[in-house]
């Protein structure tokens, strides 16, 4: 079945036919001869939200940019129609595009920290569309900017307007970005991953803001990789893969009764409470019963705290009185929003960072208290997997060298080159890679493959604990599922313990036996996964849980 067939079959019923703001038919985009958007069609209606969902490389972002004529150099765009309110944008020149951008179509990019000009005042950024399109005077624009900031719920808008983006929190920045996009009240708002880098609680607020715009009659095209986010806002969902729309229909229907296999796979891959005992990438497969050795903890943190002195000379406590125990074969999840101190805790546990107070014990023996030299031979007992595997590899080294290097630090260093190679290849196979990857440079691997290499490296010295610091946060949903499955498989097979750090409650819920919830450097709540998710005690935990976007539709 082709995408086009499906679309025709699934054209949503139009309640009011003349509310169509944008109509796109048979859009094709090619870069240097390679087609990345392969003839897709959709339309956007006033007061409704169309979500385009897909993983990296699906062509969703290119599509979004093409709608404002910013596909980029070296590209070729063709379509049967790109009509905005009856105007054929395909026939418009650069000048025509400029008159449309900002005034007829508002555009919100992800990560407002880099999407706003850091050197200009927030007010100027917000009011820029007004200036570009020649509306108002300098003074009236400044007033309007404050008004807009106020409208998107920025507290003290007049103060904020005079500040610069880096002086604002992530949520406020994203609001400012939206304020700028709606400054001229465009009938169409395109939001490209507007909540991706945000903490869940902030994410929820931004989604509410977009929902409000929708209420006011703005048509929204939401681009996202995250089905849960989409579920909260979209009236209609188009699922893209490899430049094609594989499924398109009303949000409720697509998310509840996915017809396309890919959509089903995507949905299944989302970690959540339901997936705890299954494999994400193989939903029918169940995890075997785990055996946790509740004897002596393999890793124990006692009242850790860490104080950093800022450049202004003021001390800030980043980790405050954190204690935990990690037992053999167990996964201890640490969850928290940015700035909660979870990563610092992980680094202290690894003894890469010295705590200001408190102590870490490894297999019951002193760990953080030892000198660097004494600690070195013990390092093989504790491994680490980072969020960004690529930056954790020496760019000059191929995969094989990375692994043999790690093997050499282990309990049983290989006696010969041949043995090292053999064992490295076995590790590769263990993490689902093949011998051919041995000579590959990490740069030439996909994100998922890189993380597998990172896991293989962590496993090489045969540690009893692996600290996983946001190991799947940078990955697409389907890849994330595979990597999470790999981690649980390895645990089942090797009995290794994980200290698992993540901001994603779904992921934490999926993998953890016990959970610490951190906020502002403190553990606000700890307990079993079931306790935390089903009977949260602390107010903050409850707030977190409500903010998590869920697939269930309102």
């Amino acid at each position: 079945m082709t995408a086009t067939d499906q679309q025709v079959a699934e054209q949503p019923v139009r309640e009011e036919p003349d509310t169509t703001v944008l109509r796109v038919a048979n859009l094709r985009v090619a870069f240097a001869g390679t087609e990345v958007v392969k003839g897709i069609s959709f339309s956007a209606q006033a007061g409704r939200c169309l979500a385009i969902v897909g993983e990296s490389g699906s062509g969703k972002s290119v599509t979004a940019r093409t709608l404002v004529g910013l596909t980029g150099g070296n590209s070729r765009v063709s379509a049967d129609a790109i009509d905005l309110d009856g105007v054929d944008l395909l026939r418009t020149g650069e000048r025509g595009w400029r008159s449309v951008r900002g005034s007829r179509i508002g555009f919100v990019l992800q990560d407002a920290l880099v999407s706003l000009d850091q050197l200009r005042r927030v007010g100027d950024e917000v009011a820029e569309p007004l200036r570009v399109h020649g509306r108002g005077t300098r003074r009236s624009r400044a007033a309007k900017a404050v008004e807009l900031l106020d409208a998107v719920g920025v507290p003290e808008p007049a103060v904020r307007a005079r500040q610069r983006p880096y002086e604002l929190s992530g949520g406020l920045r994203q609001r400012a970005l939206i304020a700028s996009a709606i400054a001229l009240d465009p009938p169409l708002l395109i939001a490209d991953e507007p909540t991706t880098a945000l903490d869940v609680t902030v994410q929820a607020q931004v989604l509410d803001l977009l929902a409000a715009a929708k209420e006011r009659g703005t048509s929204i095209i939401l681009i996202s990789h995250d089905l849960s986010v989409v579920a909260r806002l979209a009236d209609e969902v188009a699922v893209m893969r490899d430049g094609e729309i594989v499924e398109h229909g009303p949000a409720r229907r697509v998310l509840r009764e996915p017809r396309h296999e890919y959509t089903r796979m995507l949905l299944a891959a989302i970690p959540s409470a339901h997936t705890r005992d299954t494999k994400l990438s193989r939903p029918t497969e169940h995890r075997p019963q785990r055996t946790v050795d509740r004897g002596r903890p393999v890793l124990e943190a006692r009242r850790l705290s860490k104080v950093f002195r800022g450049p202004d000379g003021v001390d800030r406590t980043v980790v405050d009185d954190v204690s935990f125990e990690l037992f053999g074969g167990e996964t201890l999840g640490i969850v928290g929003e940015s700035g909660s101190g979870k990563t610092t805790t992980a680094r202290i546990a690894l003894a890469i960072l010295a705590a200001t107070a408190g102590e870490v014990l490894l297999r019951g023996a002193p760990w953080s208290a030892r000198s660097v030299g004494e600690r070195r031979p013990l390092r093989k007992q504790i491994g680490v997997v980072y969020q960004d595997p690529l930056s954790s590899f020496d760019p000059r080294w191929p995969v094989g060298r990375i692994l043999t290097d790690a093997l050499a630090t282990g309990t049983r260093p290989p006696a010969s080159k041949a043995e090292a190679r053999g064992r490295a290849i076995r590790l590769l196979e263990q993490v689902g890679l093949r011998e051919e990857h041995f000579d590959r440079a990490p740069l030439r691997l996909s994100g998922g493959q890189r993380q597998r290499v990172a896991i293989a490296r962590a496993l090489a010295p045969e540690p009893s604990v692996i600290v996983c610091d946001e190991p799947v946060s940078a990955l697409d949903v389907s890849i994330q599922a595979q990597v999470l499955d790999l981690l649980t498989d390895l645990q089942d097979e090797l009995g290794v313990s994980y200290l698992f750090i993540s901001h994603d409650l779904g992921v934490i819920h999926h993998v953890s036996d016990r959970i610490l919830v951190m906020k502002d450097g403190r553990v606000v709540e700890h307990g079993s996964a079931a306790d935390i998710f089903e009977r949260p005690q602390h107010e903050y935990t409850r707030r977190l849980l409500t903010a998590v976007p869920r697939l269930e539709l309102k």
Partner: protein, 310 residues
């Protein structure tokens, strides 16, 4: 308090540079009195102790080096840079007269270089392979030009053949054009190169896309948004260039018959005129230090984030 520290460290750098010069010159083989005698008589021979005695006496060459140095440094704190052995004038005066032409030349060259570089960069970065290539090649080429080659070619073409500018304009306005260009063209190459690199990176930033989605034209985006981000490396380079050019301008001054501190320095070293050479270094170091304080300020003005960091 922080500014006071900065100021102190700047003064320390300047004094250190002058002191290094003082001792470095003592390390140069050859005797100062002999040089002065030979200079006064146009010879290159040895002189007897009696012949040299009056000079040694007059300038205190026989004093212990520590005494000479302390004399010099305490003089500095009184604002006394000493007296030129050869010109018999206070060093401050020797340099004072030459500083303004040098500064004029250098500062103008810097300004012109900026205009040239930004013009080329603004118009050619990421404007298709041909234009960008042309711009980048122009920058790399001008950065490879030896100063005096540029100078002599400009002189012959514009002053001798076309007679647009004077050959020996001295410090007159019209006569400053070619010397300024001589220094500015290669410098523009450097400024352009660093700016282009940064410009390219900034153009790829999401906020540039944001600006475009607001309907801004390409040129407006470059001017309003990108430029400010892209000039920082060039600003750094300028601080360095101001110090480096002021003494490096000697070749240009030579060709166009301009007064300047570079020639003073060359002559002072040739004649072992220690107070003058140290004085020139003192002044050049001051210019460098001041330029870099200005660069710091410019940094803060351009990117307020850096204001907090320092």
């Amino acid at each position: 308090m922080r500014y006071l520290l900065k100021l102190l460290s700047a003064v320390a750098v300047v004094i250190a540079a002058a002191s290094v010069t003082f001792f470095a010159q003592l390390a140069v083989p050859g005797d100062r009195a002999t040089t002065l005698m030979n200079l006064q008589t146009g010879q290159d021979r040895k002189w007897t102790a009696e012949e040299l005695a009056p000079l040694n006496e007059k300038y205190g060459f026989d004093d212990p080096i520590v005494v000479q140095y302390l004399d010099y440094v305490t003089g500095l704190f009184r604002g006394d840079l000493g007296t030129s052995y050869t010109q018999k004038r206070p060093v401050l005066e020797v340099i004072g007269g030459q500083l303004l032409p040098s500064l004029t030349l250098t500062v103008l060259a810097l300004v012109v270089a900026w205009f040239l570089a930004l013009g080329v960069t603004l118009l050619t970065v990421r404007r298709g392979r041909f234009l960008s290539g042309l711009g980048a090649t122009w920058e790399a080429m001008t950065a490879s030009l030896p100063h005096y080659w540029v100078g002599i070619v400009l002189l012959v073409v514009f002053a001798v053949q076309l007679r647009v500018f004077p050959v020996i304009g001295g410090t007159s306005g019209w006569g400053t054009v070619l010397p300024v260009l001589t220094l500015a063209i290669p410098l523009a190459g450097f400024v352009g190169q660093v700016t282009r690199e940064e410009f390219e990176q900034v153009l790829a930033q999401p906020f540039v896309t944001t600006a475009r989605t607001r309907g801004m034209s390409d040129l407006a985006v470059r001017l309003r948004h990108v430029l400010r981000h892209a000039v920082l490396p060039a600003v750094t380079l300028s601080g360095w260039a101001l110090g480096a050019l002021i003494s490096g301008a000697v070749i240009t001054e030579n060709i166009f018959g301009r007064p300047g501190i570079g020639q003073v320095l060359v002559t002072a070293v040739d004649t072992r005129d220690m107070p003058t050479a140290s004085g020139v270094v003192l002044v050049v170091a001051t210019v460098y230090v001041v330029a870099n304080l200005l660069v710091d300020l410019a940094y803060g003005a351009i990117d307020p984030r850096l204001r907090r960091a320092t």
